[in-house]
């Protein structure tokens, strides 16, 4: 399961948002997150440096070990990386290093790379009822036939924007902006 390597449950107090037999919602430990923008050439170079190639197919994700590159738009990717050590600190150094390495690799080819590690937080929604719980607020067809494992998309969680990634048949990751997290968590807890 590539996702477990990347997303670890946070160990801080209150990290467990929902804990029921058929579904759990848990805050994920921090990650390095980079927003990468550019054309296919830039993306190709970035992927080589990042260690997980940037998918060209819409809504695709490419998890490789503790890295993942998520397609968010035709010139937009979210790059995720875990530091390898379990911790609750945001891996700024890792983010910095990755930024430098990618920037070097892409060189002068036009692109944009921005550290957004602190902007997002993630929730892991898991269990047989995970899709049903998300469907209380997410207006997507989460049937495995329509939204297979590995698919990732930006969408709406009622009034909050999220990135939704299916990392397993019964496991999803919800990424949202930091200040929207209480709203998302609140609705999941009530759902």
């Amino acid at each position: 399961m590539p996702d477990t390597a990347l997303y670890a449950p946070a160990t801080t107090q209150g990290a467990s948002v929902v804990s029921r037999p058929d579904v759990t919602v848990t805050r994920a430990a921090p990650l390095a997150r980079l927003a990468f923008r550019g054309d296919a050439t830039a993306a190709g170079k970035a992927g080589a440096a990042f260690g997980a190639s940037l998918p060209m197919a819409p809504l695709a994700a490419n998890p490789v070990g503790q890295r993942a590159a998520l397609w968010l738009g035709p010139d937009e990717w979210l790059l995720l990386a875990a530091s390898g050590t379990v911790g609750e600190e945001v891996p700024w150094a890792l983010a910095r290093t990755l930024c430098d390495e990618i920037a070097t690799a892409v060189g002068t080819h036009p692109h944009a790379l921005v550290d957004v590690s602190e902007r997002n937080v993630a929730l892991i929604v898991s269990g047989p009822r995970a899709a049903a719980l998300l469907n209380t607020q997410v207006f997507l067809d989460l049937d495995e036939g329509a939204f297979p494992v590995g698919q990732v998309t930006r969408t709406l969680f009622t009034k909050a924007e999220i990135v939704l990634w299916r990392t397993g048949p019964d496991t999803f990751v919800v990424e949202c902006w930091r200040s929207f997290a209480p709203y998302v968590e609140g609705l999941l807890a009530n759902g």
């Binding site: 921090p30 927003a35 923008r37 550019g38 010139d75 937009e76 600190e89 945001v90 700024w92 910095r96 036009p110 692109h111 944009a112 790379l113 921005v114 550290d115 957004v116 590690s117 602190e118 902007r119 997002n120 049903a132 469907n135 209380t136 607020q137 997410v138 207006f139 997507l140 067809d141 049937d143 329509a146 009622t158 009034k159 909050a160 902006w177 930091r178 200040s179 929207f180 209480p182 709203y183 609140g186 609705l187 009530n190 759902g191």
Partner: protein, 1005 residues
């Protein structure tokens, strides 16, 4: 606790589980499985409500959601009635009883049996359709004081709840291949067929149990089983299929574009003690690839005099009560009909051993088989016979018969009866087809509109499209189910069901039934709830209301809570007769959502309280809350407004905060400001086009104030922009403007200037921003900064550095000011923002500083004459208006809004310009929004020169100050103007809009 109308056996109620409930305070008993209506009828209670206009006594007419009369207020207990938590206007025919349930009749005072409002019925000769348009106009002042209050008090049915609803509501978004609306024979067949084809199916039915008419078909068999058993097996099969979702108690209430349907599921109202974790209702928002409408048909009343009396009931309802609920609603039952199906009701009741007094059929020759069977059961049959009225006020006691002939109707005696079952035939239920924008086709031979070609991926099946006969309906449903599954990409064959019994048969009647009574004295009701009579419809036509929509609006027929389910076809027929026009030419009023009324809470779903909108808090929020800060809403954010200490009011707190910033140092949470990182080789060129200012020459490490216009030339946002690298800018926006600005930028970038190599990334939440402002700001932060030279030479005003604070926390340090004092904005990661804030706070406290909120920030900037977009500007203001022509890059050929600035009105003389105002007395604080005039006491209608945009008690100036937008203001500096207030004009002097440190020397301290 008798249930004198309960049969000794039969029905689907659980006779082993008695249920006690109250109606108007009186205790009754029913059984589990009863509706409130069936339980009341079991106790021989027919009088359950009063009509809307005439307050006529009314009984239970139907057994379904189309009920127009038996509307009651319902609560879990009598106590909840008393505390204002009852739900008004529920149909007794849909309310499932549970122990303790308390129902109250409505629209009556002081009691249901004796209702003062019934005087309206005596005045009914006056209160005809549209009467209020013709009167209550004189004397004029009586309208608001007398007439209207009277009309309002008389209107309405139940009482609105007065207490906040403590129940919760839920939502589910769902997708399916085939949504089947209606779980009767056609719907079940369709769902089975679609599910067996492998399709994802949702089957929804508004009733507690699936099966529809099969639940009360006594003799029908399907596949060799009694119909009800077949239903059980079918539901079992569907329930075992993981790709099928069964939703009972669920009404498909709205059919929107592209097969988007909304359903309301009633989850807990039927339970005596529901799990508190469960919602009361749940909305389902479904996107279906294909839809099968199997919504059945609704029996139509006959329009004859006094047809609204308690005890007069639809024939099929009588059959449902008898067969499904084990309740025969009378001792002696008469039947008035024009169609075969009502005969079956008579037979079922007679076979149960109860008395059918007469079957009066409007047809001259009802089918011989029916007549034979009736005679075999000993039932009196009267063909060519109309019911011309009933005797009895709160309950039918006798029924008047009339013989139909070529010359008219002649009296044919009376029959003793305490219940009258009527049927004018069946109206196919085409509401959802029509909501889906499907056209309707008039079928003269059936007297009905049937669904025409569907517009959406939708098909109707069964009796809602005029199919009759159980076998035919099942086959039609199966065909529709397979066709829908196939269209959704599955394959399968229509199952074949064998069936016997359950035919509705033929015959129908539309419009008023002829009678021999005095037409001026009797009333035959078309719309029961709204008290619309056949005469009203004719009156509307007489008065020139020739469109069916006019007739509907003038008479209010079809506008009651049953939405014309029972009345529309009869009203249409009567109108068509009065107009001398065919029915299709008269037209049909629109079917709108919702199909039946939907609870507001269900529509609102989970949006309530703190989860109504996302409530955004900064990482510093909790600290501010602990300090006792007051907060204000800005967009979705909560911002610390001011920090009162020891009994300070807002004014004192703000004054102290302002003074402290000017004298020592203040700490301010600026996290909510929007931030956008603009990166790419063309970043500077992009900014050149988006902002009025020039950017090419801004050095790396420098900040510049940026002003942004919309294409119409008006100021839309502002902020400080820093250059991090040749190809990288850190842009800030206003708090409320952040999403708008990013959208504005993306629009131009993607659709106008796609050749530019530049990308935008929101970093609003990547950085928390701690503003440290005041002469001791450097002192406050210096101990915390790891690797940035803070000296004035190395780090002058309007520059930025990247570095670290507190031993490794990354930071972007801005030297800038929105207060007029030297200051810094420390951008740090939110995860460490609170720690950094507290560290700075420790120093600030030592230096005698304070934390300040948005109000002090507003005062401090106003003292310096800095604008707030949205306060000084309002969407009609140009840069020059606020004295900011300096922000316009004069050499730039173009930027967004530049061309519009040259339009005649934007360069006209006399535009409003920003100035300062000082009250002459030096004491009076002007009100924001107050108008400014030349005259001290201007006459009504005088044009204002402008208005006060900002007004504060300025601690620095030691007096009140104000900013204002004044016509030709800059030329008026030094003039005395006036601010007219209700208690007199206030003299003000027009001054430059800078009150503190006009040279800006403090910034560079």
């Amino acid at each position: 606790m008798t249930q004198q109308n309960r049969t000794s056996e039969g029905g689907r109620i659980d006779r082993g589980t008695p249920v006690t409930f109250t109606f108007d305070g009186k205790r009754y008993q029913g059984f589990a499985g009863d509706t409130l209506a069936s339980a009341l009828l079991a106790n021989d209670v027919h009088l359950v409500g009063r009509s809307f206009k005439y307050h006529r006594p009314r009984g239970i007419v139907t057994a379904g959601s189309e009920e127009p009369n038996a509307l009651v207020g319902v609560a879990r207990s009598r106590a909840k009635h008393a505390s204002g938590e009852a739900t008004p206007n529920l149909r007794a025919t849909q309310v499932e009883i549970h122990d303790g349930l308390a129902a109250e009749s409505q629209n009556r005072w002081p009691s249901l049996a004796f209702d003062i409002g019934a005087v309206n019925d005596k005045l009914s000769p006056l209160f005809v359709a549209g009467f209020y348009y013709k009167t209550f106009m004189w004397p004029k002042r009586f309208w608001n004081r007398v007439y209207e209050p009277f009309i309002r008090a008389a209107a309405g049915l139940g009482k609105a709840p007065t207490k906040p609803d403590t129940d919760t509501y839920a939502n589910t978004y769902a997708h399916c291949d085939v949504l089947v609306a209606g779980g009767g024979p056609a719907g079940l067949a369709a769902a089975l067929a679609a599910a067996r084809s492998g399709a994802r199916v949702i089957l929804a039915d508004e009733q507690a149990e699936f099966g529809g008419s099969l639940l009360h078909e006594r003799g029908a068999e399907i596949d060799g089983k009694p119909a009800a058993d077949w239903v059980t097996d079918a539901i079992g099969e569907l329930g075992d299929n993981p790709r099928v979702t069964l939703l009972s108690r669920t009404t498909v209430f709205g059919y929107f574009n592209q097969n988007f349907l909304a359903l309301a599921e009633r989850v807990t109202d039927h339970l005596a003690e529901p799990d508190p974790a469960l919602p009361r209702e749940r909305m389902w928002q479904v996107r279906a690839k294909e839809v099968v409408l199997a919504t059945g048909a609704i029996e139509r009343p006959l329009v004859f005099p006094e047809n609204d009396r308690p005890g007069v009931m639809m024939a099929e309802a009588g059959r449902i009560y008898a067969n499904r609920y084990g309740v025969v609603p009378g001792k002696a039952i008469a039947v008035a009909t024009a169609c075969d199906s009502a005969w079956r009701a008579a037979f079922d009741i007679a076979e149960a051993g109860d008395t059918i007094a007469v079957i009066a059929d409007l047809r001259a020759e009802p089918p011989a088989a029916l007549v034979e069977r009736a005679e075999a059961l000993g039932i009196r049959v009267e063909p060519s016979c109309a019911v011309t009225g009933v005797i009895g006020k709160t309950r039918v006691t006798r029924v008047l018969l009339g013989r139909m002939s070529d010359t008219g109707v002649v009296p044919a005696g009376e029959v003793e009866a305490d219940c009258l079952l009527m049927s004018g035939g069946w109206t196919p239920n085409v509401s959802l087809h029509s909501q889906a924008r499907g056209k309707l086709d008039w079928q003269p031979h059936m007297g009905a509109f049937l669904p025409g070609d569907p517009v959406q991926a939708q098909r109707s099946a069964g009796s809602c499209r005029g199919v009759d006969g159980l076998a035919e309906v099942l086959a039609d449903g199966a065909r529709a189910g397979v066709a829908a599954a196939t269209a959704a990409g599955h394959t399968g064959e229509a199952p074949v069901f064998t069936a016997t019994g359950g035919d509705a048969g033929s015959g129908w009647w539309l419009g008023a039934v002829p009678h021999d009574r005095d037409a001026s004295r009797v009333r035959a009701f078309v719309d029961f709830q709204n008290d619309v009579t056949a005469k009203d419809v004719k009156l509307a036509v007489r008065e020139g209301m020739h469109s069916i929509e006019h007739i509907k609006r003038y008479t209010t027929t079809g506008m009651a809570t049953d939405q014309g389910r029972l009345s529309n076809m009869n009203a249409l027929s009567i109108a068509s007769g009065a107009l001398g026009n065919e029915i299709p030419q008269v037209g049909l009023t629109t079917f709108r959502q919702p199909y039946t009324p939907v609870t507001f809470g269900t529509l609102a779903t989970t949006s309530r309280g703190d989860l109504f909108d996302p409530l955004r808090k900064t990482p510093i929020h909790d600290w501010a809350a602990e300090q006792g800060a007051a907060f204000e809403d800005v967009g979705l954010w909560k911002r610390a407004w001011y920090f009162p200490r020891g009994g300070e009011d807002m004014h004192d707190a703000v004054a102290r905060e302002c003074r402290t910033v000017r004298e020592s140092v203040g700490l301010f949470d600026a996290t909510t400001l929007g931030k956008i990182e603009i990166v790419g080789p063309d970043a500077a060129e992009f900014l050149n086009r988006i902002y009025t200012n020039p950017w090419t020459k801004l050095g790396v490490g420098k900040l510049r104030y940026g002003l942004m216009l919309n294409e119409a030339g008006f100021i839309m946002d502002d902020g400080v922009v820093g250059r991090l690298a040749d190809d990288r800018f850190h842009v800030t926006t206003t708090t409320g403007g952040a999403p708008r600005v990013l959208a504005h930028m993306e629009d131009y970038l993607q659709t106008e200037w796609s050749d530019l190599n530049v990308w935008l990334t929101s970093t609003t939440e990547q950085w928390a921003v701690i503003a440290v402002q005041g002469p001791k700001a450097r002192e406050a932060i210096a101990p915390l900064v790891d690797d940035i030279d803070l000296s004035g030479d190395a780090f002058p005003h309007m520059s930025l550095r990247e570095g670290h604070v507190m031993g490794g926390v990354p930071c972007r340090l801005f030297r800038m000011s929105f207060t007029g004092e030297a200051g810094y904005e420390i951008n740090v990661p939110p995860s460490r923002a609170r720690a950094v804030w507290e560290a700075v706070w420790a120093n600030v406290e030592k230096l005698g500083g304070c934390a300040y909120g948005t109000e002090a920030m507003h005062v401090l900037r106003a003292e310096k004459g800095y604008i707030i977009v949205g306060q000084e500007t309002d969407g009609t203001v140009t840069p020059d208006d606020v004295g900011m022509s300096w922000a316009i890059g004069k050499k730039k050929p173009d930027f967004v809004g530049k061309r519009s600035l040259a339009r005649p009105d934007l360069v006209a003389e006399g535009r409003k310009q920003m100035v300062g105002l000082l009250t002459k007395d030096g004491k009076t604080l002007l009100e924001e929004g107050a108008q400014v005039t030349v005259e001290r006491s201007p006459a009504r209608g005088t044009s204002a020169l402008g208005h006060v945009t900002s007004s504060y008690q300025s601690p620095a100036a030691g007096r009140p100050i104000a900013l204002a937008m004044i016509a030709g203001g800059r030329d008026r500096i030094g003039e005395t103007l006036h601010v007219p207030m209700p208690n007199g004009g206030i003299a003000v002097e027009v001054v430059q809009p800078v009150f503190v440190d006009p040279e800006g020397s403090r910034l560079n301290a």
